[in-house]
């Protein structure tokens, strides 16, 4: 790391900490606390229990999971999860089954949002990308294998 950017970073972090302590930066709404237990889980099952409280899922063809069959660069794998065909979608989670920590991201939807997410994720090797949709209290699953030709974690 360059000295200049390092100094900048330290200063910025220091200032933020002071501001938070003084109660200056109050978010408009209280953000949900980051679920460190689920995100540091080493297996798909543990990650699911951590975030949804259950790891039993049912396959659903209503989830449209769009992922490339072959990803030339695993560090930027475009993933789209379209669950707009399902009613009462509460949240969507995306997992990479063989990543060191499988849970990649989790989205919670208010009634003002539709069950749709498109993003780009890192995949360390060839693996299954799993999309979990929580709708009406049930966990629905869609899975697709993505072949990675170059590793995504820069290892």
């Amino acid at each position: 790391m360059k000295r200049r950017s390092f100094l900048k970073g330290t200063l910025a972090t220091g200032a933020t900490v002071v501001a938070v302590n003084a109660g200056l930066l109050t978010p408009t709404t209280v953000l949900a606390e980051w679920n460190s237990k689920a995100f540091t889980s080493k297996t798909t099952e543990d990650a699911l229990s951590g975030i949804f409280g259950s790891s039993s899922t049912t396959e659903s063809s209503d989830i449209k999971l769009k992922a490339p069959a072959i990803a030339e660069n695993g560090a930027v794998t475009p993933i789209t999860v379209d669950a707009t065909a399902i009613s009462g979608v509460e949240s969507i989670a995306i997992l990479g089954s063989k990543n060191p920590m499988p849970l990649v991201c989790e989205y919670t939807f208010a009634p003002a949002a539709l069950g749709f997410v498109s993003t780009r994720i890192k995949l360390g090797q060839t693996m299954n990308v799993v999309a979990i949709v929580k709708a009406d209290g049930k966990l629905l699953k869609a899975e697709q294998e993505v072949k990675v030709t170059i590793g995504g974690c820069g290892g």
């Binding site: 900048k8 970073g9 910025a12 972090t13 933020t16 900490v17 938070v20 930066l25 978010p27 408009t28 709404t29 953000l31 949900a32 980051w34 679920n35 995100f39 560090a75 930027v76 794998t77 707009t84 990479g96 990543n99 060191p100 920590m101 849970l103 990649v104 991201c105 989790e106 989205y107 919670t108 939807f109 208010a110 003002a112 949002a113 539709l114 749709f116 997410v117 498109s118 993003t119 780009r120 994720i121 890192k122 974690c153 820069g154 290892g155």
Partner: protein, 103 residues
């Protein structure tokens, strides 16, 4: 240093697809520095909030496995003229936000 975010969105028949491109390294904390053999310190966005006219529509939690300079797109119920905003916080406490008036 606040996190820079670029947003785009267009409303069509009451539904808007909101796209955001966030400038962030998304360092997972697992990548090794080959010279020193030590991992690069983790720095990634943990929480993302997307709101329509100030009301939360989508709350997201991310791990370090979201790609660097993350792209995210969601669909919300909003009409043209509505204000859509996005706010992010990373694990070091750095924040960023952006607001867009829908066309």
């Amino acid at each position: 240093m606040s996190i820079k975010i670029r947003m785009r969105g267009k409303s069509k028949a009451g539904v808007a697809e909101v796209k955001a491109l966030i400038k962030h390294p998304m360092e997972s904390g697992l990548r090794m520095d080959k010279k020193t053999g030590k991992p690069y310190p983790a720095k990634f966005i943990e929480t993302v909030e997307i709101a329509v006219n100030g009301e939360t529509a989508v709350n997201a939690q991310w791990s370090g496995a979201v790609s660097a300079n993350p792209y995210v797109s969601v669909k919300v119920k909003a009409n043209s003229g509505d204000e859509v905003s996005i706010a992010v916080v990373d694990n070091t406490g750095a924040k960023g936000s952006s607001t867009l008036k829908l066309k």
